[in-house]
């Protein structure tokens, strides 16, 4: 059903989820009711917009010598850190320096560990295991259905232990169901549940970020009105949660603008979905009777259909001072826009913690309006250098500062 063999339990969960999805009718069909894939709901039926669809990555990772030539600001250096890792997405660093790498649709449900330049497969056939996190020696993996934990993983990379289930009260729905997870400074694990559609209203247990204790107990909401976040981090100075959010598809070529959001009152803020987009525009279907004034506005907007994914505060000291405390954001790039763009951008904060500017940092992923690479996650290593994953090429780049 997906690109890999699934266990029976997962198949059952997935089948249930799929049946729910398959019943979504296209809005405003004047003929006989037509089913369309969830991503196509709301797509224009005529004109250039009707030809837009998700962009498929190649099924093979790109050889190291064929990877795109990327650009960084003067003084920085970018090099290939690893290649040959199909669908490389989420990045985490273990206490002993192991780099853990997650995958999604094209990765066979695998999780990799990268040690001393060698890639080891430590799990496979997991159900869209995009979310990874590392804490207290354990690797956490989040699927759309559950969160599991591999204890003492760095001492057992060649023979990983059977995972322990941490939390399994998740919908298991595929659309926007794959996860990004991260422990906060409060020791709690932050978990998003994306909306199971392009745009819809009625799902009480979707479109939010919640947090749980490390043992899976104590679930509580952190942010509401969150359409689909696949990247967040905590300000090292304030402990505040910041997250990227992918806004609805199809509204127009240049709207809505994807968001960078700042949580200042955990559990009390609503970030607008599905009523208000980008802090400035009510939804043409669900926005009537609502005002953007009633919702938390984004700290910054990141471009139309930009698909901002992984983001991290720069916590190292190796980059110049201007970058310390700034936020690096992987913009995976739009599919439902004719203009393709993708980069790692950097959001600079002022003394008050407001976003002063957002600028491109790592570029070169688009040639002739087509993708030659797509950044997915960023990770600040203990030595102050930064890794960037590229799922399109199955590669990881390392950025360092040379002065």
């Amino acid at each position: 059903m997906t690109a890999f063999t699934l266990s029976n339990g997962v198949k059952l969960a997935l089948a249930t989820a799929l049946l729910a999805v398959a019943s979504v009718p296209a809005a405003a069909q004047d003929k006989k009711e037509e089913e369309v894939p969830f991503w196509a709901v709301g797509r224009p039926t005529t004109g250039p917009g009707a030809a837009l669809a998700p962009v498929a990555a190649p099924p093979l990772p790109t050889a190291a010598d064929k990877l795109p030539r990327l650009n960084v600001p003067a003084g920085f250096k970018v090099e290939v850190f690893a290649s040959g890792i199909p669908d490389a997405r989420g990045l985490r660093e273990g206490d002993k320096g192991t780099i853990f790498i997650s995958t999604l649709f094209g990765g066979g449900g695998k999780i990799y560990a990268l040690v001393d330049g060698k890639t080891k497969e430590i799990a496979k056939d997991l159900f869209l295991p995009n979310g990874v996190e590392f804490k207290d020696g354990a690797l956490y993996v989040a699927t759309p259905k559950e969160i599991i934990r591999y204890d003492d993983i760095e001492a057992n990379l060649d023979n990983p232990p059977a995972p322990v289930t941490v939390f399994d009260d998740l919908p298991g729905v595929v659309p926007h169901g794959w996860k990004f997870i991260k422990f906060g400074p409060d020791g709690k694990l932050y978990v998003p549940v994306g909306t199971p559609c392009n745009i819809c209203e009625e799902q009480a247990d979707y479109a939010k970020i919640f947090r749980i204790n490390a043992d899976g107990t104590g679930k509580e909401d952190v942010a509401l009105g969150v359409r689909n976040t696949v990247g967040f981090d905590f300000d090292p100075k304030t402990g505040d949660l910041w997250f990227t959010d992918n806004q609805r598809d199809w509204l127009s070529e240049d709207m809505p603008l994807d968001e960078l959001n700042h949580v200042t009152q955990p559990g009390k803020q609503h970030f607008g979905y599905p009523y208000c987009h980008s802090g400035i525009m009510t939804d043409p279907q669900y926005g009537w009777g609502h005002s953007c004034d009633d919702y938390s506005s984004p700290a910054a907007t990141l471009g139309p259909h930009a698909a901002p994914l992984g983001m991290r505060f720069y916590t190292g000291s190796a980059f110049p001072e201007a970058y310390q405390g700034a936020i690096f954001i992987a913009r995976h790039g739009p599919w439902n826009s004719h203009t393709k763009y993708a980069d790692v951008s950097v959001a600079f904060l002022d003394k008050n913690g407001s976003v002063r500017a957002v600028e491109p940092f790592l570029t070169g992923f688009v040639i002739d309006n087509g993708y030659v690479g797509r950044p997915n996650d960023v990770l600040v290593l203990k030595d102050g250098s930064m890794l960037v994953s590229d799922d399109f090429n199955g590669a990881i780049y390392r950025i360092s500062y040379e002065g």
Partner: protein, 219 residues
């Protein structure tokens, strides 16, 4: 492209033939040329021969725009996209898609071998319209099913395919039916769950009608 003649059309045994035409080195070399790589002139003749042999192995079973595949269940390659072909070759090699002949053929091939083969498939001219009788009632029923189930959302409204999604229009009817049945039964899986999702509520009669329409789309 071209057929070797001496092997005729009974190419199904190629994979098992000891010392068969598809030596890995020869294929990679040939396909590098087919893919546009620079080759010293002295090697050109040998390369052209290897290329002919490699491509002939595909053509033997799959036919070309002007020749039909060797069995009704064998898909035509002409009109398929390069990316779809590459996905399928990768799936055959990994075992995700199961076919004894194909898996054996690609088992020892490198990534670059598969890329070159896919590029060749993507370069083939569009298939010629097929003959054969059209059951108008079955055709119309299939057309309605294709429309109501949104097949064109991914495969394009005219079913010509795009990117990693195959052309359906004009494909071999028996192959289409077998593929639909495989997707429905979970014997074949794609990059995402879309096919199983669409086909799970459908009956076998529905699949028969859709395959007939797709094979004869535009007629």
């Amino acid at each position: 492209m071209r057929d070797s003649g001496s092997r005729g059309r009974g190419g199904r045994h190629h994979a098992a033939r000891p010392g068969g035409v598809l030596t890995r080195a020869g294929l990679a070399f040939a396909l590098a040329l087919a893919g546009g790589a620079a080759v010293p002139p002295a090697q050109a003749a040998a390369t052209a021969e290897a290329e002919a042999e490699a491509v002939a192995a595909c053509v033997d079973c799959h036919g070309t725009a002007s020749g039909e595949p060797v069995t009704p269940e064998t898909p035509a390659l002409a009109g398929l996209t390069e990316l779809y072909a590459l996905y399928q070759l990768v799936y055959f090699r990994s075992g995700q898609r199961k076919n004894e002949i194909m898996s054996e053929l690609v088992r020892e091939m490198s990534d670059d071998d598969l890329r070159a083969l896919a590029a060749w498939v993507g370069s083939l001219p569009l298939p010629e319209p097929r003959g054969g009788p059209v059951d108008r009632a079955l055709h119309d029923r299939g057309a309605a099913l294709v429309r109501s189930h949104g097949c064109g959302s991914c495969h394009e409204p005219d079913l010509s395919g795009r990117e990693h999604l195959p052309r359906l229009a004009g494909q071999q009817e028996a192959y289409l039916l077998a593929a639909l049945r495989d997707y429905k039964a979970g014997r074949r899986v794609g990059l995402q769950a879309a096919m199983a999702e669409v086909l799970s509520p459908m009956t076998d009669d529905d699949l028969v009608a859709m395959a007939h329409f797709m094979a004869n789309a535009g007629r």
